[in-house]
């Protein structure tokens, strides 16, 4: 059996220890996690120095003696490979932003949602496993092939694997990775008032650097989306953050939407990504222009246009990456947007999963034996009633 992964929890609230041990008892009993507790930053550093096997820190921000933001600066001096997740008050963007700038890997908000915390811990530990593999392969100076496959695994590790499905709407997303290069990702965020945030993106570049850029894009997006209701402001914020210290000129095209199930309104902004295809229940469709904003990370100071559409019952929003429309057949013809829209004109789908299946089957049939150059990704939101 593998050793439990060690996590240090830092909080001056004494009840948290009892609560954590109680809510995580199954994971502790199964030997999956091992928790250590500290009451402030000073105690946390002592604990880290004492036990070099601690991989992850979950820390509150406001604490006596040494607060969580100061602790964040000190942790890399103990071990640069420790990853920190910050616990912040809901919508406290100032502190979240500072935490991100100081290298926090992710954050969760108070009051703690333990299901969400479990997902966040899993994601952080998966990231660490992949990072360790990446560092090992670099040590061994192995071929680029290996670096690419580690980047791939890091990419897969951040994708959500469960999708919201309620009486009023469903979301489904999947990705077919290209053999070598590609940097698609998607994310689904729970927002206040039952709203959900939907993101689909394509990172330029390959291997571990692109995967790391993808991680920070995802975390910054989540950080910016919490406490904001305007997708265009979210994109402006993420763009500013990504442009700080972007020596590599990597960029990410990203479509971000907020869906309000109560009204059916889908509000979105677009940073250089393919616009979504809206398919109505009668098979007709709505397309948005491609004159979108600039991809994130290219230049600072960009303002993004915001658009809104109401999804009626039976309507769906199909978000996709260019791997779909630019899929090639053996004659190097591209699948194209027109063919994508025609897929649904005769028989509009009745679920998000079905819509994705139709797209993936059609692209596969079209491509035949031609090589797949890019990741193929679809994220579909279907409003059922």
């Amino acid at each position: 059996m593998t050793e439990p992964r060690k996590i240090l929890v830092v909080d001056d609230e004494p009840d948290l220890e009892r609560l954590m041990l109680q809510r995580m008892r199954r994971e502790i009993r199964r030997g999956k996690f091992h928790f250590t507790f500290a009451g402030n930053g000073v105690q946390a550093l002592e604990a880290l120095n004492k036990d070099p096997e601690i991989e992850m820190v979950l820390s509150d921000i406001n604490m006596p003696e040494m607060d969580g933001l100061t602790l964040l600066e000190q942790i890399p001096k103990v071990d640069p490979n420790i990853r920190s997740v910050i616990v912040s008050a809901y919508g406290d963007m100032k502190n979240i932003r500072t935490a991100m700038n100081r290298g926090a890997f992710d954050f969760v908000t108070k009051p703690l949602d333990f299901d969400d915390l479990r997902v966040t811990i899993d994601r952080t530990l998966r990231h660490l496993t992949m990072l360790r593999e990446a560092l090992q392969s670099r040590d061994k100076l192995v071929a680029l092939e290996n670096e690419l496959s580690v980047g791939r695994s890091m990419q897969q590790a951040i994708l959500p694997t469960s999708f919201p499905e309620t009486q009023t709407y469903q979301v489904f997303a999947n990705m077919e990775p290209a053999r070598d290069v590609g940097g698609d990702f998607f994310d689904i965020l729970s927002l206040p008032d039952n709203r959900i945030g939907l993101a689909i993106a394509d990172v330029s570049g390959k291997g571990v650097p692109a995967a790391l850029f993808m991680m920070s894009s995802r975390t910054l997006l989540k950080g910016a989306a919490v406490g904001r209701t305007s997708p265009s402001e979210v994109l402006t914020e993420v763009n500013e953050l990504l442009n700080e210290n972007n020596e590599t000129s990597m960029f990410v095209t990203l479509f971000f939407a907020i869906f309000d199930p109560a009204s059916g309104l889908l509000t979105f902004a677009n940073a250089g990504h393919n616009p979504p295809l809206i398919v109505h229940s009668d098979g007709s469709h709505t397309l948005f222009g491609t004159s979108a904003g600039v991809a994130l990370g290219v230049v600072p100071g960009i303002e993004y246009t915001q658009q809104q559409i109401r999804l009626e019952p039976g309507d769906m929003a199909l978000c996709y990456t260019d791997g779909v429309t630019e899929a090639e057949n053996e004659n190097q013809d591209q699948f194209g947007l027109e063919q994508l829209t025609e897929l649904f004109s005769e028989s509009p789908p009745t679920s998000a999963r079905e819509a994705n299946d139709i797209v993936f089957r059609a692209v596969e049939t079209f491509s035949g034996d031609a090589p797949q150059f890019d990741d193929i990704t679809c994220l579909t939101l279907y409003r059922s009633e």
């Binding site: 570049g205 990597m250 960029f251 250089g272 979108a292 290219v298 230049v299 260019d322 150059f373």
Partner: protein, 113 residues
């Protein structure tokens, strides 16, 4: 993929043929960077015979452009096929990088004012 470069005073006139994809992007960037010596003030790139460019290719164009910006030199692309034009416009790169209809327009757009 093939890159042809030719100097006309302080202007580098470039023609790219073929595809800029994961297999050719490093070569494209390398050939361009080698041709752009420090005395080049303007770079114009003919993309008429470019049939495909992926996001790694866009990034290479961005890196080249940003390097030129740091010393106030300019770059313009011209004669893009509609499908290539669309790739640039979806990513919003046409808002950052000069995209012109033809060579004359590209020369004019990079003129120091």
């Amino acid at each position: 993929m093939e890159v042809r470069t030719e100097r006309e005073d302080d202007v580098l006139v470039t023609t790219v043929n073929g595809r800029i994809d994961s297999a050719t992007v490093s070569e494209f960037q390398h050939l361009m960077e080698r041709a752009i010596t420090d005395d080049i003030r303007r770079v114009i790139v003919d993309f008429e015979n470019l049939s495909y460019i992926n996001s790694a290719g866009l990034r290479a164009v961005l890196v080249i452009t940003k390097n030129l910006w740091t010393r106030n030199a300019k770059l313009a692309l011209h004669s893009l096929q509609p499908s290539i034009q669309e790739v640039f416009s979806i990513a919003g790169f046409d808002k950052i990088i000069q995209v012109c209809a033809d060579k004359a327009e590209a020369l004019d757009a990079t003129q120091e004012k």
